[in-house]
Symmetry: C2
Subunit: 439 residues, 2 copies
Amino acid sequence: MSLIEPRTLKGFRDYPPALMIPRERMLETARRVFRSYGFAPIDTPALEYAEILTGKGGEESDRLIYQFKDHGGRDVALRFDLTVPFARFAAQHIGQLGTPFKRYHMGPVWRGENTAHGRYREFWQCDFDTIGTHANAADIEIALVIHDLMTSLGFERFSIRINNRLVLNGLLENIGLADRAVPLLRALDKLPKIGADKVCDEMQRTAGVTADQARQILALAALQGDNESVLNRLEAEYGSNARTAEGIRRLRELLAVATEAGIPRDRLTIDLAICRGLDYYTGTIYETFRLDKTDIGNVCSSGRYGNLASHYTKQQLPGVGASLGLDRLLAAMEELGMIRDVSTPAPVLIVQFDPARLGAYQNLARRLRGFGIGTEVYPEAKKIGAQLQYAERRGFSLALIAGSEEFAQRVWKVKHLATRTETAVDDAEVVEFVRSRLT
Amino acid sequence: MSLIEPRTLKGFRDYPPALMIPRERMLETARRVFRSYGFAPIDTPALEYAEILTGKGGEESDRLIYQFKDHGGRDVALRFDLTVPFARFAAQHIGQLGTPFKRYHMGPVWRGENTAHGRYREFWQCDFDTIGTHANAADIEIALVIHDLMTSLGFERFSIRINNRLVLNGLLENIGLADRAVPLLRALDKLPKIGADKVCDEMQRTAGVTADQARQILALAALQGDNESVLNRLEAEYGSNARTAEGIRRLRELLAVATEAGIPRDRLTIDLAICRGLDYYTGTIYETFRLDKTDIGNVCSSGRYGNLASHYTKQQLPGVGASLGLDRLLAAMEELGMIRDVSTPAPVLIVQFDPARLGAYQNLARRLRGFGIGTEVYPEAKKIGAQLQYAERRGFSLALIAGSEEFAQRVWKVKHLATRTETAVDDAEVVEFVRSRLT
């Protein structure tokens, strides 16, 4: 038989244990946080009717979609994000599910991207949203969830920057530019990358505004200081517009409730320069940055939108949601040394010294597992050196060894692999001893 | 804008929270058990080169594979199981990963099945294997894992039936039919469905054996009794063949180690009639049945194989593994009333009685979440009746209510939704009170 070369497609990758263990841990942490707020899990198929997915993110996005005909000749496509399937899902089921509806959704998506920039064609997304309510309470909760996600993942130094589209929309209304919001937002979104002068140029070029108008918008975005003083100046300078005033009220309420709920004040920062380029967003905007590693970019962004599922239903479904940047966070955790390089989920290896004692080895393993301590029994009675090498290479913490001498004395040799120190421990005390060495 | 009908493809389904919550719980339980034995998670792409996947399960299987050309004109296909991608993965990475290698893999697979029999075209598989060792210790461990999976999922009455191909292979060798093993196994596999007479006919027809030879094979499969007596009779009647004797030795060792490890004896049963129809298997065979619901079929089957990845590498990779039947187990749990019909992962709803108190509501919610108690704050200050109706419909256990009177007295009204009883609880004691009511 001629062999087939074992390889993955360009732009795709395998996840061996060393990559998969931290990914699973991250997904579990996120699930725990979502559930603690009452967000419920959903899933949707990887494949949808092509008409459901295409035309939702513009032409360029459509070109990236994997499309084909299925066995029944239907035009089908692989989902390229979790937002469009959620919109379809909501339109289809919201009558039965009722509102408000809070969901999280984690899963792979597929895009036929150019792989030149290290992009993968299959990657995971992790979204959460509350739909069916205009209430600011839902927006506030999203900020609390982002905060808890970051701390639960082990990050301490981060900043959630917050804005509200209503603030800028009020200004645009005042200066008669409400109908130019789309190109203006798109230009403003580039501020951190290209600077104020180039944004000013672009606004004049693409939105047809005057230099003075562009400068007025940039002046709003440039308001800086502590949250209280920014809001006070906003109110004094722009608060006469009802829309802007409502934006300010919502931002104030968000900060007040978060503080009363117990979120440290310095974790939330009003930042009038963040706007997210899409006109899809209508209210609160969030971006989350790590302060110790700003070059990694925004790791959790989100916003309030006016209508989720307009392509599929006449029912208005406002909502607010966010997307956790799993790959960026994993990269950050790797750089910060927050991920141990292990390829076993179990900390304890029981060496198979004497094959006739397999029952005794598995008996101790079960006792340890009963206390939540992952324990592997090496399957073969190889030389101890080879078994210990296996244990070190995979990243086990402890190796337990017993031969006829130890069985006669009813003890286990507990070997701490990092220090290569060994302790003889009584069989009756070994579970407690192992527990104490692992915490 | 004309609306697009929101619908899923034929053979595909959405998972709303009421379906997804039990699925996630089941996957988490399985993960916990796998990890406790040192099985490590891996993942592989949904899409592979078509040549990797096709031709591995016969023509009929190939017809079910979703195949198409990607943006680069490559012939690609969606995985139809997790075994073939694992074989490709092992061939590609085993040099780096080293052996023995223990992995679990959970994820969706796709088959363009006929949907007439309620089959879905997208479903989850959940596989675990140890590869790179011939040791019986690995086979024994698989039985222990199956046992712990079943008990951790909440099943008490089940039976893991065990056989070893070596037993039958020895007999076939003795009566000169070793080269007819494939059609004979395929016929024998139908024994529970069509009975001994029809199996006997089929053996004669498809394997070209005599009626007497077929009866000899069926006589072996019919040996019954407690484990010890079955093994003793096997030994006495067939033990002279070396292959059969090795099969018996392995079965004996499995039972002895499992018992010493602490598995109740009645959970493991030698059953010489189970054989699994594929010639892929070479040693231990397992099938798992629920005793209180036998019509649901085998919920966890597995076996030892001689060579996992022969299509992709010359390296011999023997192994032993199993597949957990997630959908069958979920169906069983539903029938047994083991799944509460809830669509929220959080047990506590805090009613939004006074919108000015949102900070206080979120403050209590955070205190409860800190103790691992999922707590949702209703986002709008609707009428209490509407909020309680929402809570009941979703399956919350407790609703917490406080208005100006309660805030003045520093108490919370804790409403037990199933009984509609209400207790006023001091704010300082409310976390402890809620905890006690939920356990």
